[in-house]
Assembly symmetry: C2
Homo-oligomer: 225 residues x 2
């Protein structure tokens, strides 16, 4: 910022929020200082307080602005739910691209959980709910196993996607061999993930092999949880 005095409150606030989002994502609430936000945004400390009341106010505003962005983006997704196969592919791929494009989200959510910010991110619960409902319908149609609860299935799916992006940096730096540390690593993991999930949810063909893992079949309905 040059010699200030832009006198456009909305613009100022948005600049502050952008800087604050980056910083909060990077260092969390306790680890971020108003000074840093001030320096990164070019607005003086008192001005930030003026617009957002206090540090907590800045944080809340950041969360709100993220949710807005998220919901805006999500509203144009959720396409045809024909087969479970295409549903799962869609869900997984939209999670992947969301995580890829919004690296701050994951960190902010993690910070939030750790810092005891349990206020629900609005919209998230509903999203999960409709998602589970679609799983249930696929079970009713006999497309996938019915002995696993929709909730657990959704947890499995989220878990495999989540852990990849949560540890993305770590995987890229320390786990993958050098030649595989490129953009296609994500795609490769995605494909393997999809293949694993689809098989894990498919209806077992026969009860052959004495192994325990073919024991449950679709006729053993799980009690709803």
């Amino acid at each position: 910022m040059t010699k200030n005095k832009i006198r456009d409150a909305e613009e100022t606030k948005s600049i502050i929020l952008k800087a604050a989002e980056t910083l909060f994502a990077e260092k969390g609430f306790a680890g971020t200082t108003l000074r840093q936000i001030s320096q990164a945004s070019g607005a003086s400390g008192p001005l930030i307080i003026f617009h957002f009341k206090d540090k907590q106010g800045v944080y809340d505003a950041v969360k709100a602005s993220i949710m807005k962005r998220y919901l805006d983006a999500d509203s144009k997704t959720h396409p045809a739910d024909d087969s479970f196969d295409s549903l799962i592919r869609h869900v997984l791929s939209s999670m992947f691209s969301f995580y890829r494009d919004n690296p701050t989200i994951m960190r902010l959510a993690n910070w939030g959980r750790l810092e005891g910010d349990y206020e629900p991110w609005p919209g998230e619960a509903e999203w999960h709910h409709t998602y589970r409902e679609q799983i249930r319908l696929a079970q009713e149609r006999g497309e996938i196993r019915s002995d696993l609860t929709p909730l657990n299935i959704s947890i499995f799916i989220c878990g495999t996607a989540h852990i990849w992006w949560e540890n993305h940096e770590h995987f890229m730096k320390h786990v993958l061999e050098e030649k595989n540390r490129n953009r296609t690593a994500d795609d490769f993991y995605f494909e393997q993930c999809l293949s694993f999930i689809l098989q894990g949810l498919s209806i077992p063909v026969t009860e052959k092999k004495g192994k325990s893992h073919a024991k449950r079949t679709a006729k053993n309905k799980a009690k709803p949880r």
Copy 2:
């Protein structure tokens, strides 16, 4: 603490560490103050500095003590690796009990990742390595699919376990129906998890059904990553 002066360095240090572990797990490094550790442990601030040099020293000591505890517990596990079935059951169940018994670990690990503490927790890398090796062997024996890489398989397994415990509180409070909010919820998830994973990794019986998820078979060896 009464009127101090216990003059037992080891005892004092261990008391301080215990208090510090709780606090760091709860609030992270930046969010925890020496004063709080002092108050919670009964040792004066300067005494903590005396024993651990500085705040960072306390943090490092906490991590070291946790790793010691972890390795001690883990050394008496790792039993017969006969079948993959029993291996996976063992790995998953030891992860579950570890997370259940050490709720601070998960939080500390998450804090560490967020706060940029990328120093490896000693022993962890080796553990993952031997684990992946066992997966690879099971693939060679033809017990499980070979088109998924051992690394990805281990990520899937960790992911499904991880996400459960990472969100355990949230699941218990807001997601599960009330009647299911008890200790057996963990066991139920565990069983479903196991069943899902084993089927997802099993070798497909036939190529029937036109669906895409039966396309890959064991003969399509994945290139090692």
